[in-house]
């Protein structure tokens, strides 16, 4: 968890600072403008938003026209661009965090409390599956494996939890638990394949997981057309709806936020414990840092890889299950959306730490929730958010770039350069 680590580094001097204010201030300012984790993360987000703003302006024809007479009357172009950018990002914020107007309406009695809390609810709804897929990638990263297969594992998780959800007639609670476990098992099985091949044949997990992603997607598109899975009342590719007993319980009607986000926080705590406190976590970190050394120390590297991919796959499968049991309710070809690949971005932004991943997922969920409003209000394509999300991670992954752009000082503890560069 990057934020805590950074603040922890700054806390001891803060105590000194009460006695010697100048030295603390100097220390603080010096560290603020150095390439530490927090500064680079914040600046990466700022940079991505700036590039997003440029994209908004250059793709708007009316504003672009004002630039044609920029030298004659620059105020038109500047005002127009500023207004467009400000309203776009204001919409993003209103759609993701809170809308003052909705709160005002609630206090005046003209609106409902649901409307006031809807943005937060949407953010958490989008964030829940991302937490799971992000944790999956982050956990594998810590063990030295790059799990691009989160998408495929999530798809298999979707399939199994949905099939259990609409075919088993178990009582309430039990049905949900069985469906969740089925999703996790499906993901685990899909994660086992690359883990096993890595351990036994030395096959690179990136290649295998990429191939398994598409295999899973194709399997899903075949399965939803089969008898017993396809909705008998529909002719298009859509499955039966899951039974209400298998749904994740959610807030009252207009709000969509469901139990998934609570499970996601629990999973984060679990993964944090697994990595930092369990003996398996110690093994996986050792293997991730230096496989030959871990082998010399008596650990079975192959076994660790297999177990690691199984756990990572189970997490991604749970992400898929959350998607189906929480919001989607049925299988479609696109049911898993892009949660696997977004989970990859989330893990990179969270620097492969469990709690960092959780916050990154909530940020990305917020961006997704906000872009709905931006699209309906200003008809700015929701793809803008995809661009911003990818750009944030480009800058996070290349701290040297951010450092060069902002002329940051070198950080005191250089933990940023640690990328995972290794070949096939």
């Amino acid at each position: 968890m990057s934020t805590d680590a950074a603040t922890a580094a700054e806390t001891p001097p803060a105590k000194d600072g009460e006695q010697k204010p100048e030295s603390f201030l100097r220390f603080f300012v010096q560290n603020l403008w150095s390439a530490n984790t927090v500064t680079v993360t914040v600046l990466s987000i700022v940079l991505a938003l700036v590039i997003g703003a440029v994209l908004i302006v250059v793709s708007d024809e009316t504003v672009l026209k004002t630039f044609s007479y920029f030298t004659a009357r620059p105020s038109d172009a500047i005002d127009g661009s500023w207004h467009l950018i400000a309203s776009a990002y204001a919409d993003l914020f209103k759609g993701a965090v809170f809308d003052p107007a909705a709160f005002q309406a609630w206090f005046n009695g003209t609106g409902t409390w649901q409307a006031a809390f809807n943005p937060i609810s949407e953010t958490l709804t989008y964030a829940a599956p991302l937490v799971f897929t992000g944790l999956s990638v982050a956990l594998a990263f810590r063990g030295g494996l790059f799990n691009i297969g989160g998408q495929g594992q999530a798809v298999i998780g979707c399939i199994l939890s949905a099939v259990v959800g609409f075919s088993f007639g178990l009582p309430i609670v039990l049905n949900l638990i069985v469906a969740l476990i089925a999703g996790a098992l499906g993901g685990a099985a899909w994660g086992f394949i690359p883990g096993f091949l890595k351990a036994r044949a030395g096959a690179h997990e990136v290649i295998i997981t990429i191939m398994l992603n598409y295999t899973a997607t194709l399997f899903l598109s075949w399965l939803i057309l089969q008898k017993g899975v396809q909705d008998p009342n529909r002719s298009d590719a859509i499955s039966k709806t899951i039974k209400s007993t298998a749904e994740l319980p959610s807030m009252p009607a207009p709000l969509r936020v469901h139990l998934g986000i609570v499970l996601a926080v629990l999973a984060t705590a679990g993964v944090a414990w697994l990595i930092n406190r369990s003996s398996f976590g110690f093994e996986l970190r050792a293997v991730g840092l230096n496989p030959p050394a871990a082998r010399t120390a008596g650990m079975s590297v192959g076994r660790t890889y297999m177990l690691l991919m199984v756990v990572a796959g189970a997490l991604a499968g749970l992400g898929g299950a959350t998607q189906v049991l929480g919001t989607a309710d049925k299988l479609t070809a696109q049911v898993a959306g892009n949660i696997g690949f977004d989970g990859l971005l989330v893990a990179l932004l969270g620097r492969n730490r469990p709690w960092g991943t959780l916050f990154a997922a909530i940020l990305y969920g917020g961006l997704r929730a906000g872009d709905n409003l931006m699209q309906s209000d200003l008809s700015i394509s929701a793809e803008l958010v995809s661009v911003i999300q990818a750009l944030i991670v480009v800058f996070i992954a290349a701290p040297a770039l951010v450092k060069a752009i902002f002329q940051l000082r070198a950080a005191r503890s250089d933990r940023l350069g640690a990328s995972l560069a290794k070949g096939w």
Binding site: G202, I207, I208, M211, L218, G423
Partner: protein
């Protein structure tokens, strides 16, 4: 624990090095071929209808045709596959076991086709043309990968280069109302992504697989964004590129079978085929090729003898961008007549699979791309004629084949030694 056990195994093999293990690769492959042959003869055979299967030597149902009873053909070629498998199991013809392997797999494929085509017809020329055309982007994408990866830069971003190339081809082609401008625009689009990849991977030492994946998401986002903002509201102005038409070489295109496939097609196909041989030759025989391979296998040694490692890597990744970008123009100038969001549909990843399946060589990539193109063409054909085999499973074949190859079941797949490792001059 495992360390100890592997040590003993190694010791033992050193002692009894003279005795060869029974399950050498040829026998393992032979067992595989026998099994698929048995499946063909015993499963496909009874399922096949006892009707005539016609393989016409033209683009439609007319003309001369190879005819065989469907059921008979299915069983016959299944038995042939079994025979080849048994020969491989006996351990004879060791030098030529690759030929035997190809023969066995071909027999299996033909057996499968006899089963599917029984009572219908399969136009061979049309199938070959379709396979080649579908393989076109895969060939170009895989070649781009060959250039980058042989010099040590992993390129997972082929999908991004395809998508950007397709977008730029549509945009530039429409604005300039020229198909050639479109192709050039596609190349520029590919170079744009390649330069991002190169700078981030070579200059900023970011993990190359991470860069590739993130670039794919970035390209999907930005082309989707510009599509919705520019092209969708005003497709007349921005999204109606001219098509790249097929050219017919007089004389040569009249050669039966080969003529219509190779000499009545679009110019990009020729470009791709020529490029395969040019790169194959250049990698083996030229100074650039030797240096590229040196940089990809052992950059430190290459640097010691005065080769500019990073410079060469930049050059090769950018050249790859040109080629993959041109591959992207296939989507908007040949396969369809306009750009659409996410229209490459993961073909960039299949190109990556072709690169790996083809063992990082141009000719291997060509073969893999043709094979993958053939499976896609078959999938299309089966979905038209209504086959019991779901086309999703045929579409899975490239991915499954790559998994099998990488898992070491079919030969050994080895990447260039320094592939994906950034070079830091110390």
């Amino acid at each position: 624990m495992s360390g100890v056990s592997t040590a003993t195994v190694q010791d033992r093999t050193e002692v009894v090095a003279a005795r060869e293990p029974f399950w050498i690769r040829q026998r393992r492959l032979g067992a595989g071929v026998t099994v698929i042959g048995l499946i063909a003869a015993l499963v496909f055979g009874p399922l096949a209808e006892s009707k005539t299967a016609r393989f016409t030597l033209s683009e439609d149902a007319t003309g001369a045709a190879l005819k065989i009873n469907g059921q008979l053909g299915t069983i016959l070629f299944g038995v042939l596959a079994i025979a080849v498998g048994v020969v491989m199991l006996t351990g004879r013809f060791r030098r030529r076991y690759n030929v035997l392997l190809v023969l066995g797999i071909t027999a299996f494929v033909v057996s499968f086709l006899c089963w599917q085509v029984a009572g219908k017809f399969l136009p061979l020329v049309a199938t070959a043309r379709g396979s080649l055309e579908l393989a076109l982007p895969l060939i170009l994408g895989a070649l781009a990968g060959v250039l980058g990866e042989r010099s040590g830069v992993v390129n997972v971003g082929i999908e991004a280069q395809f998508l950007t190339g397709a977008f730029c081809a549509a945009l530039v082609g429409t604005l300039a109302t020229s198909v050639w401008a479109g192709v050039l625009g596609a190349m520029a689009g590919g170079v744009l992504i390649a330069s991002l990849l190169a700078v981030l991977a070579i200059r900023f030492l970011v993990d190359q697989v991470v860069v590739g994946v993130v670039l794919n998401l970035f390209a999907a986002g930005i082309t989707g964004f510009l599509y919705e903002r520019l092209m969708q509201p005003n497709s007349q102005k921005f999204n109606q590129p001219p098509r790249l038409t097929d050219w017919k070489i007089p004389g040569l295109s009249d050669i039966p079978l080969v003529g219509p496939v190779l000499f009545h097609t679009n110019v990009l196909v020729w470009f791709a085929l020529v490029l395969v041989f040019v790169i194959h030759f250049a990698l083996k025989r030229t100074r650039w090729g030797l240096r590229t391979r040196a940089v990809g296998e052992h950059p430190v040694a290459a640097d010691t003898v005065g080769i500019r490692v990073r410079g060469l890597r930049y050059l090769n990744v950018l050249l790859g961008g040109v080629i993959a970008g041109a591959g992207g123009s296939y989507f908007t100038l040949i396969a369809s007549d306009s750009f659409n969001k996410g229209m490459t549909g993961g073909l960039g990843y299949i190109a990556l699979a072709a690169l790996i399946f083809g063992r990082w060589t141009p000719l291997g990539a060509l073969g893999a791309a043709l094979f993958f193109g053939f499976t896609q063409e078959l999938a299309n054909y089966f979905s038209v004629v209504g086959s019991p085999v779901p086309n999703q499973f045929l579409n899975m074949l490239p991915y499954l084949a790559t998994i099998v190859a990488v898992a070491g079941l079919v030969g050994r797949v080895r990447a260039p030694a320094a592939d994906g490792v950034p070079y830091v001059k110390s």
